[in-house]
């Protein structure tokens, strides 16, 4: 240490979050007395360091004591590092000369032994102080933000996000896996709690997306590869062959009328109806062009047919069409890939797949849909019998340790909606089997009361079994729902004609893979993780990647729309700043020390290190370097240094951390 640094240490109480376990006063005094040699000139504790008063305290000290380094012992740097760095900047101290030490997430919240937590806090601060001495003043790297945005998933969340950004005047690439946008909402007849027709509110938005000059819509497409970082992503999109030329197809529909090959539609119709081998998923599909499902098309299987080609008036059918790879440059990304319904087959005792008249919620949506396979007639699997008694089972696969522990948030309301539709269309007697009624949205409780007034029976109890085994008179030909009514304590056997399983929501089967592609993570349940559960619900830990809608967790349409708009607003804010400050954590090679061994060249995952043949030395391209530090660790000549995480910083931090041992058997010899 040539020049002695002047260091200020600030210990936060975080209300009682830290002070309840860690003796913050003792820690602060200890630092003042014991870290003098390391350069600590002032040490304080304060109730809320991150408050404006707390920040002013630091700023005042920087001025008065001429502090050259600051260590704040508070919460995780992922929460408030930026706050305290900015505070330092406000007092003309380079922000990177401030080090945040986490004594909340790493001490007070995870330890119960107050003495040990206090001692550990001292050690962590000592580590921070030893490290900060070697921090260097840095300037953030500014990179331009590409004004285009990629939206993955064309459900209601993705649609909302795309429209917000496009309306503001910026380009959006909307990538949807299915032949049409619309997502789950397109499958519904009515939406709770207002019972407005889903198609009526959704399809105008879909049309807007399809015709918006700022939206490039890529359906039947998937993300192939993502490269780059915030502001500058390069995305490869695989546009699967539709076998239909979009430039010439008018969407007249003759092809799917003439196509002789019927296929059970397991996606849009949830297995309840058929489509052709050449098809649009539903009449209002956007875009209007059909696709040929090559797995089922007679021509692709047997080599003959081509009926669609014969009848197409514009010669739009192209059997030889191939997948296309489209590369786009975008500055930001929104993932809005939604959910999969829980597979009710997994709960074998409910009989789905075995007992004909057990339906899933999505099947019932199609059954009750005026545009669905029965024209909206609620009938049994035979296609004609109107049920007289209907049982609706809530929480299927949700709030259940054996399946998903979380609440799927929408199943109570969807069950009430089903009950209302059955009542309205059939006049049947209805039983809702619930654990708790969860109706926390606007107008939701009122909807529940409406159902009570309609005479729907509510039985509080988790259904044990649905079977067709007759035990009592009157049960013949019925499905028996076995349940304990937990309000009366009675075991009930309720005979019904139709049972509807209100299946919960699950993360998409490929959610993990998608998350990985974009460098973000999933929770243990499999939902994509937001940056902060309360304060930053649509951003993720990876700059430039946002999430919206059910991909983040179960939610209803209003919440999905709100998140789509929120993500769009966040991105518009970024686009308008035109450039973004990146953490200046980069590697650099000292030319004089480089031996030209080229070991570093191969360890870099981003090919950021190039080799100068003439000088026989390697060099880091700072625009490509992401700062992982692997080359720093790999260089046998020690010629590479990493800003923000230099060897000196870390080695010194180790010494600092070891300054005192917890109730140790041996005396530490201060290094």
């Amino acid at each position: 240490m040539e020049k002695k640094e002047k260091i200020g240490v600030y210990v936060c109480h975080c209300g009682t979050n830290i002070a309840g376990v860690v003796n913050v006063g003792e820690v602060s005094t200890w630092a003042a007395e014991n870290l003098k040699d390391q350069g600590v000139v002032v040490s304080r504790d304060y109730k809320f360091m991150c408050s404006s008063l707390g920040q002013e305290l630091i700023q005042k000290d920087i001025k008065e004591y001429g502090l050259t380094r600051v260590v704040v012992a508070a919460c995780s740097p992922h929460l408030h590092e930026a706050t305290f760095r900015n505070a330092c900047k406000g007092a003309d101290l380079n922000p990177y000369l401030c080090e945040l030490v986490s004594i909340r997430e790493q001490a007070s919240w995870v330890h119960t032994d107050k003495v040990a937590a206090t001692e550990k806090s001292k050690a962590l601060i000592s580590g921070g102080v030893s490290r900060v001495v070697y921090n260097e003043p840095l300037e953030p790297l500014y990179v331009p933000i590409h004004p285009a945005t990629l939206v993955v998933g064309g459900g209601i969340s993705g649609i909302q996000a795309a429209l917000e950004i496009a309306d503001a005047g910026y380009r959006v690439y909307l990538v949807e896996r299915e032949p049409s946008i619309g997502g789950h909402m397109a499958q519904f007849d009515k939406t709770f709690p207002t019972l407005d027709c889903s198609a009526c509110i959704l399809t105008p938005r879909m049309v807007q997306v399809g015709s918006h000059p700022n939206i490039t819509l890529l359906t039947y497409s998937e993300i192939e590869k993502v490269e780059g970082y915030v502001g500058n992503f390069t995305v490869s999109i695989r546009k699967r062959a539709r076998s239909v030329d979009e430039a010439t197809c008018t969407g007249c529909g003759i092809c799917w009328e003439k196509c002789p090959k019927k296929v059970v539609d397991n996606v849009f119709e949830a297995g309840m109806g058929n489509r052709k081998a050449i098809y649009v998923p539903f009449p209002q599909a956007v875009p209007k062009y059909p696709v040929i499902d090559r797995e089922n098309c007679t021509f692709y299987i047997k080599g003959t047919c081509k009926a669609c080609e014969k009848f197409c008036p514009t010669e739009a059918i192209n059997f030889a069409q191939e997948d296309e790879i489209i590369n786009v440059e975008v500055g930001n990304v929104i993932l809005a890939t939604g959910y999969d319904p829980f597979d009710a087959r997994r709960i074998t005792q409910y009989g789905y797949g075995r007992l004909a008249n057990v339906f899933t919620s999505l099947e019932f949506e199609r059954l009750s849909n005026a545009a669905g396979p029965t024209g909206g007639n609620i009938v049994l699997r035979d296609g004609k019998t109107v049920p007289k008694v209907v049982g609706i089972v809530h929480c299927v696969g949700s709030r259940d340790k054996n399946y998903n522990e979380y609440c799927s948030a929408i199943c109570c309301m969807q069950s009430l909606k089903f009950a209302h539709l059955v009542h309205e269309r059939t006049g049947a007697e209805i039983y809702n089997f619930y654990i708790d009624i969860r109706a926390p949205g606007k107008g939701y409780e009122e909807f529940y009361h409406r159902l009570l007034d309609e005479g729907t029976h509510f039985v509080r109890g988790k259904v044990a079994e649905i079977s067709d085994a007759v035990r009592l008179p009157g049960e013949e030909g019925k499905l028996i729902i076995q349940v304990e009514d937990t309000l009366t304590g009675n075991q009930l056997r309720v005979p019904v004609d139709m049972a509807i399983l209100s299946a919960g929501l699950e993360p998409r089967r490929d959610a993990k893979a998608v998350a990985k592609q974009f460098g973000i993570s999933c929770s243990a349940d499999g939902w994509l993780i937001e940056r902060h559960p309360k304060l930053d619900p649509v951003a993720t830990v990876t700059e430039g990647i946002y999430i919206a809608g059910c991909v983040q967790g179960p939610k209803d349409i209003p919440a999905s729309v709100a998140q789509g708009a929120a993500a769009a607003a966040r991105i518009l804010g970024k686009i308008m700043q035109k450039e973004i400050a990146l953490e200046p954590i980069r590697a650099s090679i000292k030319e004089e020390q480089c031996s030209g061994c080229r070991i570093c060249n191969n360890v870099c995952p981003f090919n950021a290190i190039l080799f100068h043949e003439d000088k026989m030395v390697s060099e880091v391209n700072p625009a490509l370097c992401q700062g992982c530090g692997t080359c720093v660790a790999a260089c046998p000549a020690g010629a590479i240094s990493g800003t923000g995480f230099s060897n000196q910083q870390i080695l010194s931090q180790i010494e600092g951390l070891m300054l005192l041992n917890i109730k140790s058997h041996k005396e530490t010899v201060p290094a």
Partner: protein, 155 residues
């Protein structure tokens, strides 16, 4: 001896990457999961940054054990750098053995940002393992190094 081992509190230095494992620690905190207070963490950007020197420095400074943690294989924020950490880990274990330090004092833990519970329980487990090993005692000059290590050296 048993008495002494029982009261022995190991000090462990832990290295985490910025993206998954440090966030697992954050997650353990946010969820108020409890674990042993013996580990002191150092945040690196990636487990690939882990210079073996850091590990040896930690032992030299008096740590009884060292924990290395990063994203699960395949999940590294920088594509594949944790595989490099994995290779270095095996190498370091070998070197430690040759230096006469039990390889059980070095642990590698993969933890995703969602695995706060695993992070917490693995730390508590590791602390118990190190407690059982007892304090790290460097062989004194001239002290007989145990036989298996000799075999390893001459092999």
């Amino acid at each position: 001896m048993t008495e002494e081992t029982k009261s022995f509190e190991p000090t462990i230095i832990g290295f985490t990457c910025n993206w998954c494992s440090y966030r697992a620690a954050d997650m353990a905190g946010t969820a108020r999961m409890k674990y042993a207070p013996n580990v002191r963490l150092i945040r690196l950007m990636c487990s690939g940054r882990l210079d073996p020197t850091f590990v040896f420095k930690a032992f030299a400074s008096g740590a009884d054990a060292v924990l290395i943690s990063g994203c699960h294989p395949g999940d590294c924020h920088y594509i594949s750098q944790n595989y490099k950490a994995l290779r270095r880990f095996h190498l370091m274990k070998r070197v430690l053995t040759q230096l006469g330090i039990e390889p059980g004092r070095l642990k590698l833990l993969w933890a995703s940002a969602a695995e706060g519970a695993i992070f917490a329980s693995e730390i508590t487990k590791f602390v118990e393992e190190v407690r059982a090993l007892g304090p790290l005692n460097w062989p004194q000059p001239g002290e007989q190094v145990s036989t298996p290590i000799m075999e390893e050296v001459t092999a």
